[in-house]
């Protein structure tokens, strides 16, 4: 079994798989280590499928806009899998004046960095999506947003990276990193010692513990997000939907089912049984939220629910790029529940960063050492 490569990636989620794919395309030898038994077993296959710019922190916008312009439109052909990418816009819905304020503020800041997003009133919203109830009084509308299938996209990156010769090893949880002669060198698991000239830590929530072994601590914690899916319904609409206070979000899939994610307000205080398990409160709460916006869906049958840990950072955006103290070490973690849509751009830019030391999009504002105490 191969244990040495130019780059060792810790984490077989969409970030790890995408970075491995773009590195392999540049002729770089890569090993990907996944702690669980399955590729893409964390947030990568548990999210709601948004490929969205609106509603994001402006520090993330240049990256996600780059991906939507340059990578998403041809991703299905590139990965030889149906990513089910739809670019039919995102409605972020509001029902109160407070919602209108939140949405207007987000839209204004996004427009300042060049995103086409604007506020529309209730009638315009219903002209775009006639199924929405009269309770909706406004929305932000971003026509270049969309959605895709996180399962086929993540596994598509894996399939293609593997085809290009990347070594993937599952069931290999990393316990320690080791620095040798001032550079990152070894990656330790209970079974093996791997060696790489460069190491990328993209292990979601587990990134914190792994990075701690070389003295790097990124303030992040877990929060349980939950989703549900309905049986297939007749085709209704193609937009991605969200709400001002993020109480639910979702879309209708190619299959016809509706995938909705949401929250109960208690996500940071859920039990941790060692595996993400739905709480009894959240899915019913998501259903109540959906029915207020979409009365027509009250009779749609729920066939499945699931949950996933989100890696939440104290300022809501990821840590990305080089680690100053340790040459050869890179991080990509704390995606705060919205890492899917941005993942192709991150994989491609990280691969460039590792090989050439440069990126097309400036990652400076997402550097891991931005966290400061309040006084």
């Amino acid at each position: 079994m191969k244990t040495k490569a130019e780059v060792v990636i810790i984490g077989g989620g969409i970030i790890g798989c995408a970075t491995a794919y773009y590195l392999a395309k540049m002729g770089i030898e890569v090993i990907v280590l996944e702690g669980s038994d399955h590729i893409g077993n964390g947030g990568s296959s548990r999210n709601g499928g948004g490929v969205r710019q609106s509603g994001r922190d402006v520090r993330e916008l240049p990256l996600v806009m780059y991906g939507i312009r340059n990578l998403w439109p041809t991703l299905s052909e590139e990965l030889e899998v149906d990513c089910e990418y739809h670019q039919d816009g995102n409605l972020r819905l509001g029902k109160t004046e407070k919602h209108r304020e939140i949405l207007t503020r987000l839209a204004d800041s996004a427009r300042n960095v060049g995103l086409d997003v604007r506020m529309i009133d209730g009638d315009e919203v219903r002209a775009i999506n006639p199924y929405l109830s009269d309770e909706v009084i406004c929305a932000s509308w971003c026509p270049t947003d969309g959605h895709a299938n996180p399962l086929t996209t993540t596994l598509g990156y894996y399939k293609m990276a593997r085809r290009l010769g990347v070594t993937f090893i599952t069931g290999e949880p990393v316990t320690e990193l080791r620095v040798i002669k001032g550079k990152i060198r070894q990656v330790i698991t209970p079974n093996h010692v791997y060696e790489g000239e460069n190491v990328l830590v993209a292990a979601g929530l587990d990134s914190r513990e792994i990075l701690t072994t070389v003295g790097i601590d990124i303030p992040m914690t877990n929060s349980l997000l939950e989703c549900l899916v309905t049986e297939a319904q007749p085709h209704m609409f193609d937009q991605m939907l969200g709400t001002a206070e993020a109480d639910f979000y979702g879309h209708q899939t190619k299959h016809g089912s509706f995938v909705f994610g949401g929250s109960s307000g208690l996500e940071r205080y859920n039990k941790d049984n060692g595996t993400p398990v739905n709480s009894s409160k959240t899915a019913p709460c998501i259903c109540r939220g959906i029915m207020k916006y979409f009365p027509d869906l009250a009779n749609a049958k729920i066939v499945r629910t699931w949950a996933g840990w989100m890696d939440a950072s104290s300022d809501g955006v990821p840590s990305l790029g080089t680690v100053d103290e340790i040459p050869g070490l890179y991080v990509a973690c704390a995606f705060n529940g919205h890492g899917f849509g941005i993942a192709p751009a991150i994989g491609e830019q990280l691969a460039k960063l590792i090989v050439t030391g440069k990126t097309d999009v400036d990652l400076g504002e997402l550097h891991y050492d931005r966290y400061k105490a309040k006084i």
Binding site: M1, K2, G35, S36, D37, H38, I39, G40, N41, S45, L151, T152, T154, L155, Y158, K159, R162, R163, T167, F168, I169, T170, G171, E172, P173, N191, H192, T230, E231, H255, N278, A283, P284, C287, R288, I290, M291, L297, A298, N299, A300, K301, I302, V303, R304, T305, W306
Partner: protein, 112 residues
């Protein structure tokens, strides 16, 4: 399970079979050939197969086909079906209307 699984292990080439057109997952209309090809694309666990192809994600949630899928994947990998862990079963056990699922359970304590 968490056992080390090197996804580069050689499982031989994909050889087309005479029954590749046979429907295995009837809810989602997935054939034996699609499942066998997915194994050669690297989908080596039943969870990955399910996420990649949608086997067992339809109305019956895999209650009909999951054993058949397991047998096909095990044979393709050259391992015993007992070595493959089933994909996770998810709530609810039967499809439930959104308006029903939305109801909170009644507080039974008041009934004594």
């Amino acid at each position: 399970m968490n056992s080390v699984n090197d996804r580069s292990r050689d499982i031989g080439p994909f050889v087309p079979g005479p029954d590749d057109d046979m429907l295995i997952c009837r809810c989602e209309e997935i054939t034996k050939g699609e499942i066998r090809k997915a194994v050669h694309d690297g989908m080596w666990t039943l969870t990955e197969i399910r996420r990649y192809l949608r086997t067992g994600m339809g109305l019956c949630q895999g209650q009909t086909c999951s054993r058949l899928v397991k047998g096909i994947v095990a044979r393709e990998l050259g391992v015993s079906p007992a070595e493959l862990e089933p994909a996770t079963s998810r709530v609810p056990m039967r499809p439930i209307e959104m308006k029903i699922f939305a109801n909170e359970a009644p507080d039974e304590r008041e009934d004594g």
